[in-house]
Amino acid sequence: MTILRTFRTLFAAGLILFVAGVAMAQDRPRVVAVNYPLQYFAERLLGDAAEVVFPVPADVDPSFWRPSISDVSMIQSADLILLNGAGFAAWVDRVSLPRSKLVNTSDAIEEQFIVTESMTHSHGDGGEHSHEALASYTWLDPTLATSQADAIAAAIVSRGLASQDQVDARLEILREDFQALDTQAATALGALEGTDIIATHPRYQYLARRYDLTIASLEWEAGAMPTDAEIADLQALVDETGARILLWEADPPDAAFEITAALGLKNVVFAPLAHGVEGHSYFESFTDALSEMAEAGVP
């Protein structure tokens, strides 16, 4: 009898805690981020004060994600919407989002954007032309990422999502982490001076500029087996540049590594982090990639 009573008491207490937890989760403000780095920075700055949502499925490139109507409804109802700017996440220009909740985290660094030239094609009577674009992976330069984190911190405080003191304290630690990452990157990548690098996709412009790297780019699909034509393009680029390192966004099939290694290239997987890497934070993923690049630079 006593055991039964104890069990009931424990069950009731557990139920109350569960319901309270669910209610708290539902009551928390919601912040939406358009990529993983912004989600991570916001989580570091908010602690448990808000739920931070990055709504893009893991198998979809966040730059080109097309949200569903229900996704947009969820985003419209968020308390804060964190944009990357620099042309990242084209969908944000194809929906109505409440201006009072929008924060463009790269407003302060617009003058540092890198202009690129994207696809060239022709149609109608317009002749051949190119669509101008911006390199958008700003967070691969830790100094630009710092500025984006500053913008997130200011938005959190101005909207009352967390106290100024708490956010200031967390931002100070986050800025120290960025500083350490920048120092580590400068050291690790310094050894690659004069080393030509090829990337399987043009993602690393800001990294290249910050650390004086020479990176030529292909347009390969992340994680896919390259075609014979793509391998031929790579061979031509290796002949032209003398590149010794090949950067991949994600692990391709093992056979791809074997083919590119046979061309004299050292393979390095450097996740560009628009999506997070399972089980690794922004800083952990970044430092892992730096170590791999430094190692690949050793003759």
């Binding site: 949200p67 109507i69 419209q76 194809r94 032309h129 101008e132 400068a186 030529a216």
Partner: protein, 111 residues
């Protein structure tokens, strides 16, 4: 510590005057209709395009030709808009979209 900035060969600054245009689609709701506007980023109105109206399940509800001024009006009572609408504009060489949520429609009727 950081060495002087030197851009890699992959970064090409777009030449000034390059013919650059992309399709821009915008849709507004006024409680009775969705007004779709489509133009190229160089300011020219789209003169020929199909405008597809889809529901929340991506079913095509109707397809309309765009007017020569780059606009088309979709009366709300002509489509089931309970789950919102996706407006796709396709010129044959460029395409883009705009998403109208149920809240967008509700708000337009309150203002």
């Amino acid at each position: 510590m950081i060495r002087k900035i030197a851009l890699a060969g992959l970064i090409a600054v777009a030449p000034i005057g390059a013919s650059a245009h992309q399709l821009i689609v915008f849709a507004s709701v006024d409680c009775e209709a969705v007004t779709v506007e489509a133009k190229f980023s160089n300011g020219n109105a789209v003169q020929q395009a199909d405008v597809r109206v889809l529901d929340g399940q991506n079913n095509v509800l109707t397809t309309l030709p765009i007017n020569t001024d780059g606009t088309v009006t979709v009366p709300l009572d002509s489509v089931d808009h309970s789950e919102g609408l996706v407006i796709e504009v396709d010129t044959g060489s460029h395409d883009n979209y705009w998403i109208v949520t149920p809240d967008d429609i509700t708000r337009s009727c309150q203002s």
